[in-house]
């Protein structure tokens, strides 16, 4: 997994609450057997019109958001299906960090397994960022080491994330290798509970 330490990039807002993983990547694109190549399908039904043309009304199609790598969105982002294709699509499209007032549990976990940093900020802070992101070229820095988000125009906020997930992201750890270091404990549990 690609480590995440600090990331500076352009910000795109998706100003909607409860963005579910069916919207992030619709079901017809879950049939591939690879982890890569999903970016082209990100937010497909919102990004494209029924005839397959880019929908000019959707925020990511606005030229000023081309190349954005930080997504700011409403509460309960990533709810619904457990599909890891959702973070795969976000990452493949170019997003390294998602900022929202809250996330669905499974989606949050899935992000951290793929080098994407989900950042929980207060609702007022997110509203502020969505407003600031209306300005073309608006950039943020997301710093996992300091657990802070800031811009060059006076916005600064800190966030919390559990130490274990932070460590895994900072170091890009393969957590299977980490778990296998506890092999003897796993075996002991199996013997004890006869599973």
């Amino acid at each position: 997994m690609q480590p995440f330490r600090t990331h500076a990039g352009k910000v795109a807002p998706v100003d909607r609450p409860n963005v579910d993983t069916d919207q992030i990547i619709p079901k017809q694109f879950l049939k591939r057997i690879e982890r890569t190549g999903y970016g082209q399908f990100l937010f497909y039904d919102w990004r494209f019109t029924a005839d397959g043309k880019p929908n000019p009304a959707f925020v990511l199609n606005e030229p000023k958001y081309a190349g954005a790598s930080i997504l700011v969105a409403g509460k309960n982002f990533g709810c619904g299906s457990s599909r890891e294709h959702a973070p795969w699509a976000l990452l493949d499209y170019g997003f390294r960090s998602i900022i929202a007032p809250s996330f669905a549990d499974i989606f949050f976990n899935n992000c951290t397994k793929n080098g994407i940093l989900p950042v929980v900020l207060r609702e007022q802070e997110v509203i502020e960022l969505i407003e600031r992101a209306q300005h073309p070229g608006y950039q943020l820095t997301v710093d996992l080491e300091k657990k802070r988000v800031w811009d060059k125009a006076g916005f600064a906020a800190s966030f919390s994330i559990d130490d274990f997930k932070r460590k895994c992201l900072l170091e890009g750890l393969d957590d299977i290798a980490l778990t296998l270091q506890h092999e003897s404990l796993i075996t002991a549990h199996e013997d004890r509970s006869r599973v």
């Binding site: 579910d20 069916d22 619709p26 049939k31 057997i33 890891e84 899935n110 397994k113």
Partner: protein, 472 residues
Amino acid sequence: MSSPQTLFEKIWDRHVVRAAAGEPALLYIDLHLVHEVTSPQAFEGLRLAGRRVRRPELTFATVDHNLPTIAADRQVIRDPISAQQVSTLRQNCQEFGISLFDVDSPDQGIVHVIGPELGLTQPGRTIVCGDSHTSTHGAFGALAFGIGTSEVEHVLATQCLWQQKPRTMQVKVNGTLPSGVTAKDVALGIIGTIGTDGATGYVVEYAGDAVRSLSMEGRMTLCNMSIEAGARAGMIAADETTVQYLRDRRFAPKGSDWDQAVAGWKNLHSDPGAKFDRVVELDAAQLAPAVTWGTNPGMVVPVTERVPDPARLSSESDRRSAQRALEYMGLQAGTAMQEINVDRVFIGSCTNARLEDLRAAAKVVKGYKVSPKVQALVVPGSQAVKRAAESENLDQLFRSAGFEWRESGCSMCLGMNPDILQPLQRCASTSNRNFEGRQGARGRTHLVSPEMAAAAAIAGHFVDVRKWEYRD
């Protein structure tokens, strides 16, 4: 004396392999269910790292999401990418030594229907699957939750998962459910009350007389929808209903092992005085048959009400999303729910495709015909459900009323197979998600109980099933 524990805490404690300050717990997983959509990249990861499956005998696979439900289309799947996903699972199960209930198996079915049916789902177990509706299995007093593909790979390789201990919530449904009000209506009632993120970060234990009196099928429906309130898992303590359901199931313990297991299950309940982080209480008598009007399961009203007016919602964000939902759904605020016509009816999915669901729908259908304006589909949750229903002639009853009777699978719940809505079609569906495009691009989904879906198929619009005239 140890302090009183919740059911969740008891199961959690028994499965912690390692706990250290500042770390999540390493939790042992007793049962891992696998399907074709969320597993290929996990097996590929194992191969690339030269890893094996640690406990193939605790791992069971089936094909459900991609499978067509028309018998003639199942052996050779026309969609080449679907076919590849199914054949990839077949190869992976063979290579890694995992039991697969394949398309031609008499045990094939939706993963959350067959686990309980085969007796794999048991009280006290930790159960995971790369599927958010794994919460279904909590109906047996198990700790069951959905995981992503990286975690599927992790469980395959280690039989464990790193888990931050969730908070606990008790949802108590007091009193007796009125006639015509089902487990589905309880689930939708709860989500309507606490919201689609109301239980995020929590494991929910359902309790109260109305929950206790539910059958295992009803309990599965209720736990299934836990994820729609954001819950990590939903669970119901095992009791005599659970024991009776599991007795003699294929993978249930036998002989003296059975007696020992049952004795152990008796202790698997929240102790008197056990503390929950949050308690929510509902009065069963206040619940009514529910119909969703919007694009998430929290956008729901009793069938006797009207489409809500977004302008009356309290926050700007809620007003905007309700307005957006109405536009997507093609509905006007103030329209009576019972005046909304449907084009399609889907009775199926891991929420409502068990024998009891089909029986309940059949009871409504008996003596009636499907409205000529409606295309209606019944998709049993498993081959076993299908056989049982056919032995009661439910297939004939549905067919002669104008329903299609299909083979088992996820079908129109999520549109990964040929069963999809056409753009702008409106569907009364017994599934679990009314998200935009879930049942097909631009399709419009209204979530309801099997009884309500059956009644809508006949009337051509939503009706209050409490007033249904049953014909025997």
